[in-house]
């Protein structure tokens, strides 16, 4: 008699990380603020504001923790055009990736501009955040649109 398979042992298998990771003292408030539709930067010792914020100064390696709010509007400093978005990308229609310097920030921020047409994109143009109806504290809580 061959053994039946009815009695075979089974166990659920879910592929996941079974732990939670804290984002730390700087990124955690940054993402929490996104949930509240606010954007935070971090102030360097020389007063310049970096967005997104980092725990350390990229030049001097000093610890940074002074968070300041910046505007959700700013200026495009460079851009590239995605004519055929891939399925993973945030929009299902042509859009731009752009470096955006927000008002109150000294560094540019890599994000998405939902500009409709390539012809609407220009370095120096002003953009503002368009927030999702439900924000979750993720970088995808908003995209930029022409201001």
């Amino acid at each position: 008699m061959s053994p039946t398979l009815e009695k075979a042992l089974t166990a659920p298998h879910k592929l996941e990380y079974t732990y939670k990771r804290s984002l730390g003292p700087v990124l955690s408030p940054f993402f929490t603020a996104l949930r509240d539709r606010r954007i935070l930067g971090v102030k360097r010792r020389d007063g310049r504001v970096m967005v997104p914020p980092k725990e350390y100064d990229p030049d001097t390696s000093e610890s940074l923790d002074e968070l300041v709010e910046v505007s959700d509007e700013g200026v495009v400093t460079s851009w590239s055009w995605v004519a055929t978005p891939r399925r993973q990308q945030p929009l299902d229609r042509p859009f731009a990736y752009a470096l955006v310097k927000l008002d109150g920030a000294d560094t540019a921020f890599l994000h998405v501009v939902d500009a409709g047409d390539e012809g609407n994109m220009e370095t120096g143009m002003r953009v503002k955040a368009r927030w999702a109806d439900e924000t979750t504290g993720m970088i995808t809580d908003f995209v930029f649109v022409p201001a």
């Binding site: 993402f31 967005v51 980092k54 590239s80 891939r86 990736y97 890599l110 390539e118």
Partner: protein, 351 residues
């Protein structure tokens, strides 16, 4: 410092897709040819180091299978970096400098055709603030290219000229993937692939592998009539965020070049692995290369771009030209990360 030289180099052809061979099968003939070239077996290697990316294979510890091409019995002293093989060579060079080895086998391999490479590369970006937006390689490089173009740092014509030069040189390279008589006018007439980049501005996607043997001092002289001595090697990393970097120059290449001593003498040959034309121009400037340097005689990364091996191959292409006497002094470059984030510079000299 110990004298360390490149005494062996082999590579596979760069192929857009290797549908019938897995990574180990691509690597086996490369390692086999290296054994024939140097007369050494794995047992003769004091240290073995490889560079590859599990993200390309899509499974963790995929790099371990690479050892099947080398043979892990009897036990070998071995290491791996999740980087281009050029960084594996750096680790091997350090090992030899420390006195733990006199010979080392270094190899790099990659088969990006298994996935959608431009999007796979998004996984190397900041996992919280950038990666969830999935910016692909062309989009990221395009941000830098536009910055350089609009700030007057370089022109579309210069970018096209870099592609035409490299692919012209590649006509003499049987391992190159993209080669031929390209012209600046012809390239500028191409439509944008991802504005502001045209297809010819981008390195191809290539499957492939390469391998190098390093040896110290007299061991190198036994193995080679004219060893390619590593006279300087350095790698420097910049911050990951594009917004805090000067995208119009490659500071880390400048710093690595200074530490490796590139400017101490005439450079006959330079081999660069910048995967976009504007990046190649930035690297060329950062290295301070003049008109008496032949840049990318093999075609460089723009002619064949086997990810995780392309930087190691640049060191090998320089070494072969030193062995032959075509060059007395050469510089090889490897890069990693978005927009030339991290750069390795290696100066090679003949005696």
């Amino acid at each position: 410092m110990r004298d360390v030289a490149v005494v062996g180099f082999t590579q596979s052809p760069s192929m857009r897709s290797e549908p019938d061979r897995n990574e180990v099968e691509i690597l086996i003939p490369v390692i086999d040819a290296l054994r024939k070239q140097t007369g050494l077996t794995s047992a003769d290697m004091d240290f073995i180091c490889s560079g590859s990316s599990d993200y390309l294979a899509g499974s963790s510890f995929a790099f371990v299978s690479g050892l099947d091409a080398v043979g892990a019995w009897p036990p070998v002293c071995e290491s791996h970096v999740e980087m281009d093989g050029a960084w594996a060579l750096y680790e091997a060079w350090v090992k030899i400098q420390m006195g733990y080895a006199d010979t080392a086998l270094v190899y790099g391999f990659g088969k990006p055709s298994m996935g959608d490479l431009p999007i796979t590369m998004a996984l190397q970006l900041d996992p919280y603030s950038v990666m969830p937006l999935w910016p692909d390689t062309l989009s990221i490089a395009g941000l830098q290219a536009r910055h350089c173009l609009e700030k007057g740092i370089l022109t579309f014509e210069q970018m096209a000229a870099a592609a035409a030069r490299d692919r012209g040189h590649a006509k003499g390279n049987p391992n190159a993937q993209v080669k031929g008589d390209f012209t600046v006018e012809g390239i500028l007439a191409e439509p944008f692939l991802a504005n502001p980049l045209r297809k010819s501005d981008c390195a191809p996607i290539s499957d492939g592998a390469s391998a190098i043997v390093l040896a110290a001092g007299d061991r190198a002289r036994e193995l080679s009539k004219r060893p390619a001595w590593i006279r300087g090697i350095e790698h420097i990393c910049e911050p990951m965020d594009l917004g805090v970097r000067d995208l119009g120059r490659s500071r880390s290449t400048e710093m690595a070049a200074a530490k490796a001593g590139v400017g101490k003498g005439k450079i006959d040959v330079a081999e660069l692995s910048a995967p976009f034309t504007h990046q190649e121009i930035l690297v060329e400037r950062a290295l301070g290369l003049g008109p008496d340097t032949k840049v990318n005689p093999s075609g460089g990364a723009l002619a064949g771009n086997p990810l995780m091996a392309v930087g190691l191959s640049r060191i090998g292409e320089c070494a072969t030209r030193i062995w032959s006497g075509e060059a007395d002094r050469a510089v090889a470059h490897a890069t990693s990360g978005p927009c030339l984030q991290q750069n390795l510079v290696c100066v090679l000299e003949g005696e």
